[in-house]
């Protein structure tokens, strides 16, 4: 394409006349790629710096203003063999990064304090069992207080703030018992030190903060990582459009820079990237990504086209309208706002545990206090014992157990080319007991493919594909792809709306509609065995071949479906396509429940009916018409080829053509949930041992420290198993 590209929208201007561009790079995996990109880009003298972030799969390039065009950077990367997409950093990104750095600083301070206090505490413990000078012990306790109190005031803020917020809202979260435990432990220790007591719990309180902060940091890390990768996905998906300039020239610009009222040129075989009204031209449009319907629709001047549809036969110019102005989009918008409320009601596993846990712990402490009072102990001593109960039951394991599992499971998912867009999606996915699929573009590949490839002589197919490669028509493109995308035949000429022809050894070779190739009889024969496919014919001299092009199943669709069935999940298909197209797919996959010809509203109602039966639904879909259902379902997945709206409505996005990730994601999520539950039960077990000890007044600081660090270690090691199971799975898939 000869048109110029304009990416100035993505360029950031810094002080000192430096321009920068951030790019998401596809296929960057290893240190070799990183090196190749950095050295390759820096070899251009005008590039000031090029730095790869391997974890985020991004590269930041800087140059002096005016010496380089952003398009040249992308071209340079393409020459190096990497596809790069300009990236517009989200506004909130900076504050996220700042928050994460702040959390890491808290971790650092708490860690420093915990270790130094432990140094003092170990001396006191060993001194207590021999003959420590009470004066020295007091000095050590005061030094501990000197470190612990400022540390808690600084590093405990995330918990204190969150607990206050929860209490103000009249709720209880995990941070309420944490805050109470830490504050009471510190207060009691100061009083005890004042009274020259043998025990102080400064080390326990600070160690608790340290472990919990690690858990909090892991949580934040995962959330930022999912958001960053989601940002990359958005960049990868960001499309461009060819704008017709007032002076008649064309320019390719990113979709974000297109304004309502612009005129956009859409060539046959191109995906429509905007919503608008056709100004000139007539064509056939494949709306399967919007409605699920696979039959092409004829459109002409004055009619509306939607982003995501495929222009099949003729060139169109389209006047862009503001997004969401179309009637179809309005309808879907309305349905989505209706559906969204169900999602916000979900309560995280850790918060649910906290709701059970906090009252129990506080009651236990209160009962201990009253019990010892009744037993005849002075109230100060009874209070000390009650506070040790609070310290020892502090949900260390809970605070660390769930985020640790989430981080490990999320990285395992990422290795399997599955990206979480939200942390809680993992928990919700594990709960699903029914999976509902869309057909078009989800169970089947988004692009059509050659169905009767087995019946065609490979040598002949090579010739046909060479001619097909000369055409931009999606059906011809499918034929060319089937032969591995050969070099287009020279001198081929496209006959608008009929096909493509070329001269070979003095005779004409044709590829196109059956009528164009005089192959009606042959087409009829092939058509009966592929009722849902589009037929194109090829003729050269007296040889004639009819090709059936249609939707084929995604690779691994069968294994994925049987995998899911084996795990006892109920499966169903909800499609907007015709029954004739849906039934064969359902039969091929062995899915007995299927509904066809559904509108977006119908899909919502079907989901609601199943939900009313008590089913927890995971929805897999890609089309605009699936978006409301994706929002309504308990958890939703979409392939990377899905429309923007569907992708932003779903929790999990999987890359590649294969459907396998759907099953893998469910397996990993269930494993992760099992480990979370194990960790929660471990916390219960731990308390079953530790609480009686504390109630009996035997929980010295040494016992508390050993119990807390021991339990944290065990839940963390248990969390690491979430990654191990998937390694096996990966090996099986390879």
């Amino acid at each position: 394409m000869g048109a110029q590209q304009d990416l100035s929208l993505f360029v950031r201007h810094r002080e000192g006349g430096i321009e920068g561009l951030e790019l998401a790079v596809e296929g960057m995996r290893c240190a070799g790629c990183m090196r190749a990109i950095e050295i390759g880009l820096k070899s251009d003298a005008s590039v000031l710096s090029a730095r790869v972030n391997l974890a985020l799969k991004r590269v930041t390039v800087e140059w002096r203003e005016g010496v380089l065009r952003p398009e040249a950077v992308i071209a340079q990367l393409a020459a190096l063999g990497f596809k790069a997409y300009p990236f517009l950093p989200a506004n909130q990104h900076d504050s996220e990064v700042a928050q994460e750095a702040q959390l890491l600083r808290y971790v650092g301070v708490a860690g420093f304090a915990a270790m130094n206090i432990m140094l003092l505490s170990v001396s006191v413990w060993s001194g207590n069992s021999s003959d420590i000078n009470p004066l020295t012990r007091d000095l050590f306790h005061w030094l501990s207080a000197l470190i612990a109190l400022p540390t808690a005031a600084y590093a405990g803020r995330p918990f204190f703030d969150s607990a206050l917020r929860a209490l103000r809202a009249g709720a209880v979260n995990m941070d309420v018992p944490i805050t109470l435990g830490v504050v009471l432990a510190l207060g009691m220790s100061v009083v005890e030190t004042w009274n020259h007591s043998r025990h102080a719990y400064f080390d326990g309180a600070v160690m608790l903060l340290f472990f919990l902060l690690i858990g909090r940091y892991l949580d934040q890390l995962m959330r930022r990582r999912t958001r960053d990768l989601a940002g990359n996905l958005a960049a990868l998906k960001s499309e461009s459009a060819t704008r017709l300039q007032p002076d008649g020239t064309t320019i390719i610009i990113p979709i974000n820079a297109i304004l309502p009222g612009d005129i956009v040129l859409i060539q046959p075989g191109e995906r429509v990237a905007v919503d608008g009204v056709i100004e000139t031209g007539r064509s056939k449009i494949d709306q399967s990504l919007i409605t699920g319907e696979t039959l092409p629709v004829a459109v002409s001047t004055g009619e509306r086209v939607h982003a995501g549809t495929m222009n099949l036969s003729g060139a169109l110019t389209v006047v862009v309208e503001a997004a969401g102005a179309g009637t179809l989009l309005d309808e879907i918008d309305r349905l989505m706002s209706q559906a969204v409320e169900s999602r916000s009601r979900y309560v995280h596993l850790s918060d649910r545990a906290a709701r059970l846990y906090a009252p129990l712990v506080h009651t236990a402490a209160l009962v201990t206090f009253l019990g010892w009072m009744a037993f005849g102990l002075p109230w100060q001593e009874a209070l000390v014992i009650a506070i040790t109960v609070l310290i020892i039951t502090c949900p260390c394991a809970l605070g660390l157990a769930i985020p640790a599992v989430q981080v490990v499971a999320a990285s395992a998912l990422f290795k399997n080319r599955i990206m979480l867009r939200e942390g809680a999606a993992l928990e919700r996915l594990a709960e699903a007991d029914m999976v509902v699929f869309d057909k078009t573009g989800t169970l089947t590949l988004p692009e059509p493919s050659l169905l009767n490839i087995a019946m065609i002589d490979p040598v002949l197919l090579g010739q046909i594909a060479a001619l097909a490669a000369a055409s931009r028509h999606p059906l011809a493109q499918a034929v060319s792809r089937a032969a591995g995308g050969p070099r287009p035949m020279a001198g081929a000429q496209e006959h608008e709306g009929q096909g493509v022809a070329a001269l070979l050894d003095g005779d004409e070779m044709r590829l196109g509609s059956a009528a164009f190739c005089h192959a009606e009889a042959e087409a009829l024969a092939v058509g009966t065995s592929y009722p849902s496919a589009s037929l194109i014919a090829w003729r050269y001299r007296d040889r004639c071949v009819v090709l059936a092009v249609g939707q084929s199943l995604r690779p691994d669709a069968r294994t994925c479906i049987s995998d899911l069935k084996m795990r006892g999940l109920r499966l169903a298909i909800l499609s907007g396509d015709r029954m004739e197209a849906v039934a064969p797919v359902a039969q091929m996959l062995g899915i007995s429940e299927y509904q066809a010809g559904l509108t977006p509203g119908n899909k919502l109602r079907a989901l609601d009916a199943w939900t009313a039966e008590g089913r927890i639904i995971g929805m897999v879909g890609d089309g605009l018409n699936d978006a409301p259902a994706l929002v309504r379902a308990h958890v939703s997945l979409s392939p990377i080829s899905a429309t923007h709206l569907a992708q932003s409505a779903s929790d999990i996005v999987f890359l590649g053509d294969s459907l396998g990730p759907v099953a893998t994601a469910i397996i990993i999520a269930r494993k992760a949930r099992r480990l979370m539950m194990q960790n929660l039960w471990f916390a219960v077990l731990y308390n079953a041992f530790a609480v009686p000890l504390a109630i009996a007044g035997l929980a010295t600081p040494l016992v508390a420290a050993a119990a807390m660090s021991g339990s944290s270690l065990i839940v963390t090691i248990n969390a690491l198993r979430a990654g191990r199971a998937t390694m096996v799975r990966q090996g099986g898939a390879a």
Binding site: A31, N53, A55, L56, L104, L139
Partner: protein, 61 residues
Amino acid sequence: MNIILILFPLALGLGLAGLIAFFWCLRSGQYSDLEGSGWRVLEDDDIDHSPPTAVVLPEER
């Protein structure tokens, strides 16, 4: 006993030095790409790639 008065500030000072070092690497962005940095160590861009004959080996090593 007085040894504690020397040893304790020393230990605390060492810990603080570690903490400051940690803040410094945080500030200089060393935690922004945990994967890439591991590999960057193995790069040898900083080594002069001129032919080996031109390299003068130190005698005393």
